[in-house]
Symmetry: C2
Subunit: 361 residues, 2 copies
């Protein structure tokens, strides 16, 4: 088993990575837990609910199960409230432990429910998508969407453990693997040029779910994310670099309607756009921008943004949480493996939005 530790002001917690981890979930449950509430959705439950319930039951605690509808479009208050209903109907107290079994949507909602139920109870992340394993389950960002913006309502709230079973990726559709790889290559782009090279060389192995390649990609992604988060839990500075590609990506998701593109697909495309903007504004050379573009394409993500109309694009980006006093700011790359956070002049931004509104490959 590989373990990566995350240090935050609120404490230290492990990310445990191994094949078959799902059967050893009881190890993550503290002795003083009064009950366990397992939360999942029908899609994941069909594959893994029984195994997770059995494994958690070995802790000797009462295990209740709460099912949420599947999909980004349900990442709202109404669905979140199903968790509160389940906890209250089952008289779960402050020492209950929530377990999030699913992808980023389940993890974000269970995390926010844990942050808010009785003003905060403990929770464990058991991410079942590659995207959640390498990104959303680590670092304590939890949220639900608001009709006017993605992830607008939430909390910084850390899990007590992240339990990653690499075997569960086998039941994922190829499209979700590609979406997850977008966040993997992101770490290469912003912080680790060597890892970017490694990703370029191992695209085929990663897409084929070669166990060693996947395990290393998850481990390295978690290490890099843990490194960033431990320095800046609340996104006051450094942590913002993890949002490379996300300002464009969120606009795509909001513009098309949440759930139309997978989050990772939107981020993949957004990274290609942010690389283009970096050429115009941050001094990235064109060859490097092409490498980002090609790698996004190689992992199987779209590189042609949807035509939302330039002014609508800008409007959608202005509700981004990184906006300050109305100025649009972006994570950009002066070179591969290095990120800066700066505002973009409207002319250059319009140039990128206009250029990419038609197919670019």
């Amino acid at each position: 088993m590989t373990t990566v530790h995350v240090d935050t002001p609120g404490g230290r917690y492990p990310i445990n990575i191994e094949a078959g981890r799902l059967d050893r979930l009881a190890e993550a449950i503290p002795h003083d837990a009064t009950s366990i509430a397992l939360v999942s959705n029908p899609t994941v439950a069909a594959h893994y609910k029984a195994r997770a319930q059995d494994a958690l039951g070995r802790s000797g605690k009462r295990v209740i199960y709460i099912e949420l509808p599947d999909g980004e479009s349900y990442k709202d208050w109404q669905t979140l409230n199903l968790i509160f209903d389940g906890l209250l109907q089952n008289r779960c107290d402050r020492k209950a432990v929530l377990v999030a079994l699913g992808g980023g949507v389940i993890g974000d909602m269970v995390g926010f429910a844990a942050a808010s139920y009785m003003r905060g109870i403990r929770f464990v992340q058991v991410p079942t998508t590659l995207l959640a394993q390498v990104d959303s389950s680590v670092g304590g960002k939890t949220a639900i969407n608001h009709p006017l913006g993605k992830n607008m309502i939430g909390a910084f709230y850390q899990p007590i453990a992240v339990e990653i079973d690499t075997d569960v990726l086998k039941t994922l559709p190829a499209r979700e693997i590609s979406a997850g790889l977008a966040e993997v290559i992101k770490y290469g782009c912003i912080i680790d040029a060597q890892f970017f090279d490694w990703c370029e060389q191992n695209v085929a192995a990663l897409r084929a779910l070669d166990r060693d390649a996947v395990t290393y990609a998850i481990q390295r992604s978690c290490e890099l994310k843990a490194h960033v988060v431990s320095q800046d839990e609340r996104e006051s500075g450094l942590r913002a670099i993890l949002n490379f590609g996300h300002t464009f990506g969120h606009a795509i998701e909001a513009g098309l309607g949440f759930g139309e593109w997978l989050h990772g697909e939107a981020v993949g495309c957004g990274m290609a756009q942010a690389a283009e903007l970096s050429v115009l504004v941050a001094g990235l050379d064109e060859a490097s921008a092409r490498r980002v573009h090609s790698l996004v394409h190689a992992i199987g993500c779209p590189v042609t943004p949807p035509n939302l109309g330039t002014e609508h694009w800008i409007e959608l980006m202005q509700v981004d949480k990184k906006t300050e006093g109305g100025t649009l700011r972006f994570i950009m790359l002066p070179e591969i493996g290095k990120a800066v956070f700066q505002s973009a002049p409207m002319d250059e931004l319009r140039q990128v939005l206009h250029k990419t509104a038609v197919p670019v490959l």
Copy 2:
């Protein structure tokens, strides 16, 4: 001006107490704030909205106004969402500052909105009821209600300042003054026997809103609460004593429907019940229990609990956040000025619930 400081792991903030403080609210707004969102309800707004807006405008920042319907029955997600709608429609960013102008309901909702909007923005408490000034605005407990329990969804989240204008109490109904005094005498009961004596001697002056008496009562209450909160922000131990009377009180509020009795009235009555239970379980002498009972009556709060039926009482109390593994636990007084947190045997609890289900005075 009197200032009491609150120290928490998240930082230090002032409680500023003075007559006319409302006109100096700009002092509480940080220089880097991008905008200010003032939140209130129609009842409070009729008296103080214009003054608060003018005062905040003197900071030079944009001030937007968000109005919520008035009352405990609106302390729910739907009303909370009006704050998020207002913030997003006005493009308020992470450096916006929320200002809660109102009683405990406004303070609790604005606090939870601040904790959750974009995963946390700054907020200022401007409590306009005595209860909020001496209790709910201090200490960082924020929450909304759930149909199955009061304050079940929320966060521990500290304001950057609490601004108390003692003059605003003049427009409060007498019933709200009595409800606020319930929390004032609570501090005497649990932590400061001398202050309990002082309250007994100054009941008439407090109910008549004598400026010196009221200022001292607010200051001493805030000092005692700040002392407790600074030692235990997240209610893992000591802080629980602040819930003296609240397990009974919450059951009254839930049993009658939130808003039927004022929170302070329910707590007042609950303290009389908890004192009776303390005689049976915690060694409180009967004379002291009578003093608690008499003082609750003297400040104008009910001492006759509603007849909810003994088993329904117990059911209502079991969803209390202090419950652990199904056992009911209460804050009790071994003597006036001293509190303990312990479980109560069902027989003694039934005795108190049965006894107080009929008028006791």
